[in-house]
């Protein structure tokens, strides 16, 4: 069985009087260690797909299994636990807690998951920061960091629970091209270490680096040849 297996996903939003089909009978499989880019214009449904695979949202119809967990039917507790320890999210706008230091942000999934003692959490947090080359910025607040550094802190947060899957939703969207490239390289390095990677992007140059490229338009997907 594939690591991520989506079949017949449907999700409809109502915007004003209009019904928008964000996902229209989407089926997709992702193997362990894969690196796929989901691209498409804004409003095409790519974020919805990412959110469904990431357990933040549930489809109206269809099934989504990740690592044997049936996300379409899971209850809040199971979904939350899945988000907490099975996957890591990286967002366009970093989504760091502004009042917390880099380290505190990184260890927040451990705190929420009630993992270990404070000391153990800090050790794991420092290790994650080391992996993204920011151990010297541990006590900095997000406002004291550059955009690229913030996104690397967000990646460290996504890593801290040793997830098997990282979902990055427009991770370079708020960065200039050189910092964006750093972040993508960072993510690629993690993928090389065996972490499955799903990147949502509308940047063709980012998508081009993926092993597989999934294009989504009006809620329907089509696959293009990727870098592999």
């Amino acid at each position: 069985m594939a690591f991520v297996q989506c079949s017949g996903l449907k999700k409809t939003y109502t915007v004003g009087d209009e019904e928008v089909k964000a996902l229209d009978n989407v089926s997709l499989t992702v193997e362990k260690g894969d690196f796929i880019a989901i691209c498409g214009p804004s409003g095409s449904g790519k974020s919805t797909l990412a959110n469904v695979i990431g357990g933040l949202d549930q489809p109206d119809e269809g099934s989504v299994m990740v690592d044997g967990i049936d996300l379409a039917k899971a209850k809040d507790k199971a979904l939350s636990e899945y988000r907490n320890s099975h996957i890591g999210f990286v967002f366009q706008s970093f989504n760091l807690q502004a009042h917390e230091s880099a380290l505190e942000n990184v260890i927040s999934p451990l705190t929420i998951g009630g993992v270990g003692k404070k000391k153990e959490r800090r050790e794991r947090g420092m290790k994650a920061l080391e992996r993204v080359g920011l151990s010297d910025r541990a006590s900095h607040k997000p406002t004291q960091l550059s955009g690229g550094q913030r996104q690397r802190v967000a990646i460290a947060r996504a890593l801290v629970n040793d997830p098997q899957l990282i979902i990055a939703d427009e991770p370079t969207g708020n960065l200039d091209s050189s910092r964006g490239a750093d972040v993508i390289n960072e993510l690629k390095r993690l993928n090389a270490e065996g972490i499955t990677l799903i990147i949502i992007t509308h940047d063709a140059s980012v998508a081009a680096q993926a092993k597989r490229i999934i294009e989504i338009r009006d809620g329907k997907i089509s696959e293009k040849a990727g870098a592999q």
């Binding site: 933040l56 939350s80 899945y82 989504n95 760091l96 927040s108 999934p109 009630g114």
Partner: protein
Amino acid sequence: MKFSDQFRTGWRNLSRQKLRTSLTIFAIVIGAVSVTVMLSLVTSAKSFLVSSAEKTGMDKRVIVTGTPGLDYRESQWNWPDGSGKKIDAEVLAAVQKVGNIESATLYVTSNMFDSYVVDGREMTMKNVGVEGYTPNGTIKHILVAGAELSDAVKGSGILISSDLASDLGFKGKEAELIGKDMTLRYRKDMGPPEAKKSDEKAKIVGVTMSEGGSMMSVDLEWSVAMQTMTWQENSGPNGQQSTRTESQVDRNGYSSIWITVSNKENVDAVLADVQKLGYGAAAGKEEIDTQATAFTIIGAVLGGIGGIALLVAAIGVINTMVMATLERTREIGIMRAIGATKKTVRRLFRVEAGVLGFMGGLFGVLVSFGFAIGLNQVLNKQLEDSGIADRDIVSISPQIALVVLIITTLIGMLAGSLPARRAANMDPVEALRYE
């Protein structure tokens, strides 16, 4: 999420909005102080009442009158006008045969006097009763200065209540009155002109704490003598002179008999036994109970007012927490994205609100203790001035403090429930998009 982490996070979030948090806590402090102080004042007043009553023996007292059905207060001020059964030495003897009696005395009040003179200062005796009783320990006063009546001062010793001492200008220095001579002047309208009595000479032996009325106390025999008038009158057709004696006590009897029951538990038995003899009997403990009940009601009303303050504070907590959920929408989204369950988010906000309530309660209780210390200093001065030995009569009971602390915490958590639920039920995807 562990509770310690929830508490830490809640505390941290609160300290991010110091002013708002302080104001919300301040509102709870006001509520907590009102409830604590008001309830404590009432319980303190109640225990002061009970301890004072115990000092005068009121809790073990039964007053017997010739009129069944009078309550304690009415019995205390009973005035024999011939309408009830006559109280005299025979009745006393009968009553003394009833079991469980420690001591008893006939009791009579009179208002024979127009004025009294101390140090050449004449004061009118309007509304001043003169009580007479056998000084055998049945009747006890709370003494501000001097001593109780005793056989040694029979026929001359007099006690005056502290308000009279104040009238004489001896407030706070009542002790200086002890040993002073006092002249009591009879009313002009007592009996026929021939019966005009000469002034009574008394010596002040004690100043008693005023119990709501102006009172002088003398021994029974002297009191009876005061109320007895003797004069010569022409009684025959031939103008023979004869001595006529008229005594109010002989005519109408004594006011009452005051009993000290051997043990508080036996008061009801004594009441029943005396009533069986056909006389009215009322117990001091009924009066204490009545007053204690009144205090309880006052306490409930005042506590209720404090409760309203707490309720308003609770609305403040709701307001603060609703604001917090709005401000932290995105944070909530992030927390949910990295694995916080709805329950975790709900608890986080509830704990935060609980911390508000707890802090408010804690400061409220501390302020109340401070208030009690301050109030006691003022009251102690007053008590000292009035010559009363009691000190620190206002006390905040630890039980009340603990209950207030628990209640404010619960109120905080309860008030936080609604905003907490709101926060927990936010759609994480929407929350993450929130700007």
